[in-house]
């Protein structure tokens, strides 16, 4: 057996699986999105019709779609900067030369990342309880009246953002921490000799050196946050007043509750295009900022 044949043999199983169970369905989704595949077609394929772009047009005329889009953008636009800022702050603290028990603190701050999203979302639902939740109890001690976190349309999404920051900041913290440790010490020494204050060192040494890492981390986080689903499913069921319906939540409801798989595929493609466009924008903006 030649090396090339062996290579094919080794790669073929995984490539076949990817082709059949990933690339083929992606192409099928595009086809599905221009049909009226619904519960009748599910029962009998003869009920399937080609409808062109009607699914897309209909989606764009539905208020719930725009609501879901707005909610998802709100979640991402507020959640990502908060998460990344928390990651940077935590990484700076853990990386400080003064810290003892660094390993313990890193593990403690990272722990939420590996927990099961559904399980911790349920914990938070109780922590956010208006009457018996620890969060309102803590705020009450500070003299702030009870907030109906998950029941008030103005607070439901901020609650989910708060939860997501808690759940996710550790992931980026570890990446930023590694990047911090790669910054050459002499840069700080030189800055120190020039009389730069701690803040100036952070602003003019740390941040520029972290640039590429922060770009990477924010691209990754944006892509993750666009896929918001389990949090509203478990914590709010999309409510109150549809204030936490996300694009993926809409896709799930459309596809697997109402069995409008054609329409749901159109939602999937819009989500994909949106993620693609935002990532491209970030890359463009990020590269521009670096030069």
């Amino acid at each position: 057996m030649t090396r090339g044949q062996a290579g094919l043999l080794f790669a073929a199983p995984a490539l076949c699986i990817l082709a059949v169970f990933f690339l083929l369905p992606v192409c099928a989704a595009l086809a599905l999105s221009v049909t009226d595949f619904d519960i009748y077609a599910l029962a009998d394929l003869r009920n399937l019709r080609f409808v062109g772009l009607r699914n897309y047009v209909e989606l764009l005329s539905r208020p719930l779609f725009w609501k879901a889009l707005g909610n998802t953008l709100y979640f991402t636009a507020v959640g990502v900067p908060l998460s990344v800022a928390a990651s940077i702050g935590a990484a700076l603290l853990v990386n400080s030369r003064l810290v003892r028990f660094r390993g313990f603190f890193r593990t403690a701050l990272f722990a939420p990342v590996v927990t099961t999203l559904v399980a911790v979302a349920i914990i938070w639902r109780y922590l956010l309880h208006t009457r018996y939740g620890l969060i309102n109890f803590g705020l009450g001690r500070l003299g702030i009246g009870p907030v109906d976190w998950l029941g008030n349309p103005h607070f439901a999404m901020p609650s989910i953002i708060l939860f997501s920051v808690w759940k996710n900041f550790g992931y980026n913290m570890v990446i930023v921490l590694a990047a911090l440790q790669n910054i050459p010490e002499d840069l700080y020494e030189a800055a120190g000799l020039d009389g730069a204050s701690a803040w100036q060192q952070f602003r003019h040494v740390t941040l520029p050196m972290l640039g590429p890492t922060l770009l990477f981390v924010s691209i990754l986080t944006v892509a993750g946050y666009f896929q918001l689903f389990a949090e509203p499913y478990v914590m709010t069921q999309g409510g109150p007043a549809q204030s936490t319906v996300s694009v993926l939540y809409l896709l799930y409801e459309e596809g697997f509750r109402w069995w409008n798989l054609g329409m749901a595929s159109a939602v999937a493609f819009i989500l994909f295009l949106m993620m693609f466009a935002v990532t491209a924008l970030q890359l463009r903006f990020g590269r521009g900022a670096e030069t």
Partner: protein, 273 residues
């Protein structure tokens, strides 16, 4: 080390931050030990006055959580084993075995990385429905079998293997399969552990896909069972916290035991980007 003001400040901030991240998890454990109904009082209790395992008994005896635990375990273990078989062989081939079309396929895979899994989800559901895998644990497994990211993770590690070593084995007359089995796999052990931890945690924690593909309560994995329980048992916070403990503790323990490998994998992904 002198106790300067800066030292105190940094540690104070870290203790507060670690407290905030750990508090929800600690409260989960504490509330799961409270007798039914006692956590919903004012002021909210932090500790159970009379700790009890009754919630866990109800959870396993009446809510059948043992079965869901087993389902999750089967899915996560099988996903991990199969993902290792397929992704490691492919990753090694992409790094060290030149085969026709390799460069082209590699480019396609890189491009495909940007497609979110949810795009494939609806047709995949229809496909699995046709071949009778809807509502089976086998159906839950399908998306974990092969992953582009996992293949690249292995490829990255395999690129570092010295070619001389492999060529020397070939000159000695070793076949490609025995080279893979006897030389490559032992040298790749760290990345195999990393990939195993990632896949296990991913499969154990996943929610949307099992929710879509399973519709029979008996087949539910823990997260799906937990989500459906929480919709029925909203007021039973102690019971739900016991369910969360049963779901979260295994992955936390696994992570603590293999933390080094997990974090290395996370970093390898970051470097690649």
């Amino acid at each position: 080390m002198r106790l300067t003001r800066a030292t105190v400040l940094v540690h104070g901030a870290l203790v507060v931050a670690a407290g905030l991240t750990l508090l929800p998890l600690l409260w989960m454990v504490s509330a799961s030990l409270m007798p039914a109904g006692t956590s919903s009082s004012y002021p909210p209790p932090l500790w159970p006055d009379h700790p009890t395992l009754e919630n866990y008994r109800i959870l396993f005896a009446r809510a059948g959580v043992g079965l869901h635990f087993l389902n999750s375990l089967i899915v996560a273990v099988a996903a991990t084993g199969l993902a290792l078989v397929f992704n490691v062989a492919a990753g090694y081939a992409f790094a060290k075995l030149e085969f026709p079309g390799r460069r082209r396929i590699h480019q396609v895979l890189v491009a495909a990385l940007v497609i979110p899994a949810q795009v494939a989800m609806l047709p995949l559901f229809l496909m699995l429905k046709t071949i009778g895998l809807v509502n089976t644990l086998g159906g839950v497994l399908v998306p974990y079998l092969a992953g582009i990211f996992s293949i690249f993770l292995v490829r990255q590690a395999a690129l570092a293997l010295p070619d001389e070593l492999l060529d020397a084995a070939r000159i000695d007359g070793a076949g490609e399969f025995s080279i893979y089995w006897r030389i490559v796999l032992p040298l790749l052990t760290p990345i195999l552990v990393t990939l195993a931890v990632f896949t296990f945690l991913g499969a154990w924690n996943d929610f949307l896909w099992p929710l879509v593909i399973l519709n029979d309560g008996d087949r539910y994995t823990l997260p799906v069972a937990l989500a459906s329980l929480s919709r029925e048992h909203v007021p039973d916070s102690e019971l739900m916290m016991a369910g969360s403990v049963v779901t979260v503790i295994p992955v936390l323990v696994l992570f603590l035991a293999l933390q080094r490998y997990y974090l290395q994998g996370l970093m390898a992904g970051a470097v690649k980007g």
